[in-house]
């Protein structure tokens, strides 16, 4: 009882406790901001991985997998598989209308299947908006002027050609590929070239690779950009181009081809019954099946990526058994050589995720060590406060307060300071994290300080979510730390000799 009264009085009459509360506040805010941003970054990485490739991917780069339609049928027959879709990944060169070249990753997709696995249609950027974004006070977002249903072109990867009165195959590029846009604070982009986009034309060049592994020839084709997509993952948005899988197959010579009779040679003639010579028509001895370099698989509800990976591996093995001619060149890689991985283990992403996890842990440990400084600070402040309040302690002991009661007075005081500092620190962290992007932009403009470089951190926006569980952990730790700092001074107060304390001047 008297502890509560004195805590209140001490708090309102002294500057020292407010200083220690400020120390707690800063530590709590610091740890929470770092944890939220880094943790959010990790979450974004993880969720973007799934968005890009579904749960599990089968990959056989460059040569591709033959008979993949059969494999997909087998996969989709499994109750653990929801959907599977083929893709082709290849390096390519993209030439913009401004004649600038870009090195890109070209991905051939079956739009319907690819959307079923990854939901890419949701990420198409150019969609009509009925209402401007909250920060777009003048209604400057170009999407407000788009015709309704514009995204249909992106959805089917085709674009009408008025001259020929038919739809031509089109591509969808990442929003950062062209570098024609500037991000605004409200979150939409405006063209720096002053024209209404998209639907500009690009030329894409890819290099088919021979069975021997060398570049055969290059093939180029022009496409209209039917739409652009934004995943928020800079690496992807700046590098990826989606196009119809059949078009890319042809460009890479991975489409179905007939195999000419190896004995046939030009100039051969054969004689008919009348002895009249005829040139020998090229004969085919078989067909070389079309190929896909990747098969993206989505699991059924309740099937984890790990379970799905095992299932996919099994299905692949059975599938591969069917073909007598196995091997990389035949497009039926041996089961032990084929690459099957979950999105978390996607090469490149995996090491990156591990690195980010380690980095987060490291930064947190560093900040916790810094927080120890706050504990010592509180210890020092409380030590001097106990000295200053020695006489009060003597008086309290003289009127019968127990040692535990006096110790609790200071512990409680530490706790109140900790709770106060934690609450304010938590609130501060919340406000800062929620507004971290505007703050960061402002820092960039006012101080020329750009910490979050999308080229380094993949994402164009800094994560701005505070998880309640993290906030709770950090704030409770803050309060407990403050109490720990008060522990030794409280013990000192408890063991003071009452008479000596009373004689203290």
């Amino acid at each position: 009882m008297y502890q509560a009264l004195l805590t209140r009085r001490y708090l309102t009459s002294k500057i020292m406790p407010l200083l220690s509360a400020a120390a707690v506040m800063l530590c709590v805010a610091m740890v929470l901001i770092v944890w939220s941003v880094m943790g959010g970054f990790l979450n974004m990485l993880l969720s973007s991985g799934k968005q890009l490739m579904g749960d599990v991917s089968i990959a056989w780069p460059i040569y591709g997998i033959a008979h993949y339609e059969q494999l997909i049928d087998d996969l989709e027959a499994s109750p653990k598989v929801d959907r599977a879709t083929p893709t082709i990944e290849a390096l390519g060169l993209l030439k913009l209308p401004t004649d600038e070249p870009r090195q890109v990753q070209v991905i051939g997709i079956d739009p319907e299947g690819f959307n079923a696995v990854t939901g890419y249609v949701d990420r198409l950027y150019w969609k009509r908006r009925a209402k401007p974004l909250p920060g777009d006070t003048h209604g400057e977002d170009p999407r407000l002027k788009l015709p309704a249903g514009f995204e249909a072109y992106g959805k089917t990867l085709s674009y009408p050609d008025p001259a020929r009165n038919q739809d031509l195959p089109a591509v969808v590029t990442g929003l950062e590929v062209s570098r024609f846009y500037e991000r605004t604070r409200a979150g939409y982009v405006v063209s720096v070239l002053g024209r209404i986009l998209p639907s500009f034309e690009v030329t894409i060049t890819v290099a088919p690779i021979s069975q021997g592994g060398s570049v055969v020839d290059t093939s180029s084709q022009s496409f209209v950009v039917a739409n652009e997509f934004r995943t928020g993952l800079y690496e992807i948005d700046a590098n990826q181009v989606l196009m119809p899988i059949d078009v890319l197959q042809e460009m890479l010579q991975l489409e179905e081809q007939s195999i000419p009779d190896p004995n046939w040679a030009p100039g051969q003639v054969e004689f008919d019954a009348d002895g009249v010579p005829h040139p020998v028509v090229a004969k085919t001895v078989g067909v070389k099946p079309a190929r896909a370099t990747n098969i993206l698989v989505n699991g059924a509800k309740g099937v984890s990526p790990q379970q799905l990976e095992v299932e996919v591996r099994g299905i692949y093995e059975t599938w591969a058994q069917r073909y007598a001619e196995r091997g990389a060149r035949q497009g039926v890689p041996e089961p032990e050589r084929i690459q099957i991985f979950t999105w978390e283990n996607k090469p490149g992403l995996r090491t990156f995720i591990q690195a980010v996890k380690k980095e987060t842990a490291l930064v947190l440990v560093l900040f916790m060590i810094i927080s120890l400084v706050a504990v010592v600070l509180i210890l020092a402040i409380f030590w001097s406060m106990v000295s200053e309040k020695t006489k009060d302690i003597g008086i309290l002991r003289a009127v019968g307060a127990s040692r535990a009661g006096v110790a609790w007075l200071f512990l409680r005081y530490g706790l109140v300071i900790g709770v106060l500092g934690s609450l304010v620190g938590g609130g501060l962290a919340f406000v800062i994290v929620r507004n971290i992007n505007p703050i960061h932009e402002w820092m960039g403009r006012a101080l020329g300080l750009v910490i979050w470089d999308p080229q380094v951190y993949y994402f164009t926006r800094i994560p701005n979510q505070v998880e309640p569980s993290k906030a709770a952990i950090v704030m409770i730790s803050g309060a407990v730390c403050a109490m720990l700092g008060a522990l030794i001074p409280a013990a000192r107060a408890a063991w003071m000799d009452p008479v000596k304390a009373l004689r203290f001047e």
Binding site: M1, L5, R9, D392, I395, A398, V399, G400, S402
Partner: protein, 254 residues
């Protein structure tokens, strides 16, 4: 009666015939560096129920020290050589030297009211809170909440009797020395202790103020039949006590 109380066992049950408080041949030596400063050298003092004993003595003779021992604020030196001498401070025949920490806290809380030579008020609290703090310590949170209205009433009445009714919300720094001493007395009395130990309650005051405070204390005492040990160097104060003892050379002389 003094004879029966002469050799109590450490934790013998309290007896009604024993003095409320008794110091028997107590010793207290302060150690300053390597020099021992003997202050009390076998001082004995006892007070029966309802008695008012005045302790006179020169400055530095150990009056405050003795009072601290009686109030359980400090412990007398142990006398290892003379085990049978039974040097101790006893409350109703029970040696407080043998008290557990909890019993000692309880003793200071409810049995004793202490008025210090130098007021010792809590500077952050108001006059009223300074008086009530002793009640808070005694009753604990729940107990205090239950009777807070009654206790506030009692504290206000006590302060009123000492002429401080209009200063309840003031801080100690805003009061004069005499006013502070009256607050300290009210604090000592709030829990209605059976024993009031007052260390020069009027020492810092002029004759008239001191006299009126003493009047109020005596009037209260006649109502409650409180036992009192009052340290003073003022003859007129001593004259109002039932009995006067002198502290000379660390011993009590009659």
């Amino acid at each position: 009666m003094t004879q029966t109380a002469a050799q109590p066992e450490a934790n013998a049950p309290a007896r009604d015939d024993a003095p409320i408080i008794e110091a028997k041949e107590v010793f207290k030596t302060y150690r300053l560096g390597r020099v021992d400063v003997p202050v009390l050298r076998g001082a004995s003092l006892s007070a029966r129920e309802g008695e008012c004993v005045a302790v006179l003595g020169a400055s530095g003779s150990g009056k405050s020290t003795l009072l601290h021992l009686l109030g359980g604020l400090d412990r007398a030196d142990r006398q290892p050589i003379d085990v049978d001498a039974a040097n101790h401070v006893a409350h109703r025949g029970r040696s407080i030297d043998g008290f557990s920490a909890h019993e000692l806290d309880q003793y200071r809380r409810s049995t004793v009211g202490f008025v210090f030579q130098f007021y010792h008020l809590l500077p952050e609290l108001t006059v009223l809170q300074n008086v009530l703090i002793a009640a808070m310590v005694l009753h604990g949170r729940v107990g205090y909440m239950g009777r807070s209205a009654a206790l506030r009433e009692r504290a206000t009445q006590l302060l009123d009797r000492f002429g401080l009714a209009h200063r309840l919300k003031h801080r100690p720094v805003e009061l004069s020395g005499g006013e502070r001493q009256r607050v300290a007395i009210a604090r000592a009395l709030i829990n209605q202790p059976e024993l009031l130990l007052a260390d020069e309650p009027t020492g810092n005051l002029d004759q008239k103020t001191g006299g009126s405070i003493l009047d109020a204390m005596m009037a209260l005492r006649s109502e409650t039949k409180q036992t009192m040990v009052i340290v003073t160097h003022d003859q007129s104060t001593a004259a109002r006590a039932d009995r006067v003892v002198r502290l000379v050379d660390g011993k009590v002389a009659r």
